[in-house]
């Protein structure tokens, strides 16, 4: 780390100096590349395992897959999609995640609009409460909400889990939106009102289009959070396999399969595919949201 002191433009240096500069920096390159490879190794071993024949995956190490003869197959994917209910769980995960992302974003945006552009008594103290609620552990809410759900027959239903995820996602969403809205130039809104625009028009035609970056950050946050959630689904959807999302189905299989759990490598990869795709395409929004809202656990 202490080798490189300055970074002169390589163009101005002679070949020998450039070579010396490069050699000086090799320890850094080696460290960076070794660390990245170490970090990737667990995921790579999963990926390799998921393409191995079922009988080999639980009896030999994944690294033996690189010995001749190569034996790669899609057997595990076929099996987990058809026999263990993974296909249905995938659809359930979508059914749970899409509304549980849309509802809190809309509701939070309405509230943040009121918090940043309208005057009402108690506005500041209510917002401080929202900031406080950012870090409340879900555990504090599980028993009372579950009891309420039993009474209202919402246990094991999609609307039940949509509403729960909506509430749990709201504090961060309101916080981020309100911070974002308050950076929008005030005169744009005021001139819109002067031109006779209603709050409805101002919100949907002006504020929301200007907030696309904030909405994108929040959407990917909430989507990943709900898609990857285990605890909330376990509590409110627990015993009902026909509505269980991927996380619940896989974790049930892990605990019930004992020694044969290696067959789940393909299932785990199926559950990672969509979040990884979204993450890679929307990474910059994710990072922006992370930086803006680094207060929530």
């Amino acid at each position: 780390m202490s080798t490189n002191t300055t970074r002169p433009s390589p163009k101005r240096l002679s070949l020998a100096a450039r070579l010396a500069h490069f050699l000086q920096r090799t320890p850094i390159h080696i460290a960076v590349i070794v660390l990245s490879l170490l970090w990737m190794e667990p995921a790579i071993s999963l990926l390799v395992s998921s393409f191995r024949p079922p009988n080999l995956v639980s009896t030999t190490g994944w690294w033996t897959a690189f010995k001749l003869p190569f034996q790669f197959t899609l057997e595990l994917y076929r099996e987990s999609l058809t026999t263990s209910g993974m296909g249905q769980s995938f659809v359930n995960s979508l059914f749970i995640t899409i509304p549980a992302t849309v509802i809190p974003i809309m509701i939070a945006a309405f509230a943040a609009y009121a918090f940043s552009w309208m005057e009402f008594p108690g506005r500041n103290i209510l917002f401080v409460i929202v900031v406080g609620l950012l870090v409340v552990p879900l555990q504090m809410t599980l028993i009372p909400v579950l009891r309420l759900y039993v009474k209202l027959k919402l246990v094991g239903t999609f609307p039940g889990i949509w509403l729960a995820h909506t509430a749990y996602g709201l504090p961060l969403a309101i916080y981020l939106f309100r911070n974002f809205f308050s950076t929008l130039p005030r005169d744009i809104l005021e001139s819109a009102y002067l031109d006779g625009a209603s709050s409805f028009t101002a919100f949907f035609r002006l504020v929301l289009p200007l907030s696309v970056p904030a909405i994108a950050s929040l959407a990917i946050f909430q989507f990943l959070w709900v898609w990857n959630d285990l605890l909330v689904a376990l509590i409110y959807l627990g015993g009902y396999p026909d509505v269980a999302p991927l996380t619940v189905t896989i974790s049930n299989l892990v605990t019930s399969m004992g020694q044969g759990w290696q067959l789940l490598t393909a299932a785990a990869f199926i559950s990672m595919a969509l979040p990884l795709f979204l993450f890679l395409t929307l990474q910059r929004f994710f990072v922006r949201g992370l930086l803006a809202g680094s207060v929530k656990g």
Partner: protein
């Protein structure tokens, strides 16, 4: 079956978004009919109303209710004073749980800050920074359940003589050592679980710390170099002190994550072999032992541990507002 799933799909894609927009349209239509003074008074409450109702019903009211339940017996039929808290702080298995959360707290926060800082500083020096950052960051996109399956493959154990299937034991045996039952052996299993958390969260620490690092003026570091400071001195005397508040943000976030740790423990060991944590203990008290009193007491202890972070957040928010 297929019909009902089709209906669900339509509700999911069309019905839900339409309902939320419809709410505001309805509110504005109603408000528009009111005299001006009422319009101004009522409108904010109607816009903020759904959110405030959700927070009240799902967060504020349950917190109060759970607090009350924590002083009641298993089926909440009578008050038992502080018995549930006595259980949490004296029962042997519950004490193990508290100790494990302490391990999680110290090691997860420490490791994420140290690795996050190391990666941020190291990667800042190479031109392919975005690629390697992406590698470290990627585990954040996947679920703890998937991560647990990934790491079960790392920690898998077979007795000596049988072909090893886990990466670590494969390596140990190839080097002539004895295989270790990583998830069962009480000397190592907690640390094995925490390592999974570190693998998941280091990307978060790296991104936040890297952004702060790039905010430090280059002239400052150049000036120190000209004055003959070594890179190590620059790191400890300039970079780390200037990033103090950011390091605190990362550390407090990890403290919360450590206290709430659940999925990894639930999937990998179910809290067996001395690896239980508070969130899993609460789950077990709820669904295995049907003891809602102790379950609530565990939740309250968790909340109390988080209250300092909550106050820090509120204070930081107030300072930000004052600067606006």
């Amino acid at each position: 079956m297929l019909g009902s799933r089709l209906i669900t799909a339509i509700v999911v894609v069309v019905g839900v978004p339409a309902a939320t927009v419809g709410y505001v349209a309805l509110v504005e239509w109603l408000v528009g009919r009111l005299p001006f003074i009422w319009r101004r008074r009522l409108r904010p409450w109607l816009w903020a109303g759904p959110a405030l109702a959700f927070l009240g019903v799902y967060l504020v009211y349950p917190m109060v209710y759970t607090f009350v339940l924590s002083f009641k017996n298993a089926n909440s039929s009578k008050f038992v004073g502080i018995d549930n808290y006595k259980y949490v702080f004296t029962n042997a298995s519950s004490l193990t749980t508290l100790r494990n959360n302490l391990y999680w707290l110290v090691l997860l926060a420490g490791a994420v800050v140290v690795f996050g800082l190391l990666f941020a500083v190291l990667f800042d020096r190479v031109r392919y920074e975005p690629v390697v950052k992406g590698v470290i960051f990627l585990p954040m996109a996947i679920s703890f359940v998937a991560a647990s399956v990934i790491w079960k493959l790392q920690y898998d154990y077979q007795p000596l003589g049988v072909a090893q299937t886990g990466t670590f034991n494969g390596l140990i045996v190839a080097l002539g050592g004895q295989p270790v039952a990583w998830l069962v052996d009480r000397a190592v299993n907690n640390f094995a679980l925490i390592l999974v958390g570190v693998w998941m969260w280091t990307g978060y620490g790296m991104v936040i710390l890297s952004a702060a690092l790039k905010g430090i003026p280059v002239e400052l570091i150049e000036a120190a170099r000209v004055d003959g400071a070594t890179e190590i001195q620059i790191l400890f005397r300039i970079i780390i002190p200037m990033m103090g508040s950011t390091i605190a943000v990362v550390a407090t976030t990890m403290v919360i994550n450590a206290l709430k740790a659940f999925d990894i423990v639930y999937v990998m060991t179910s809290g067996n072999y001395g690896t239980d944590v508070m969130a899993n203990q609460m789950y077990k008290q709820m669904f295995l032992f049907n003891n809602f009193g102790v379950a609530s007491a565990v939740a309250v202890v968790l909340l109390i541990a988080i209250v300092p972070v909550m106050l820090i957040n509120i204070r930081r928010f107030r300072i930000q507002e004052a600067l606006r």
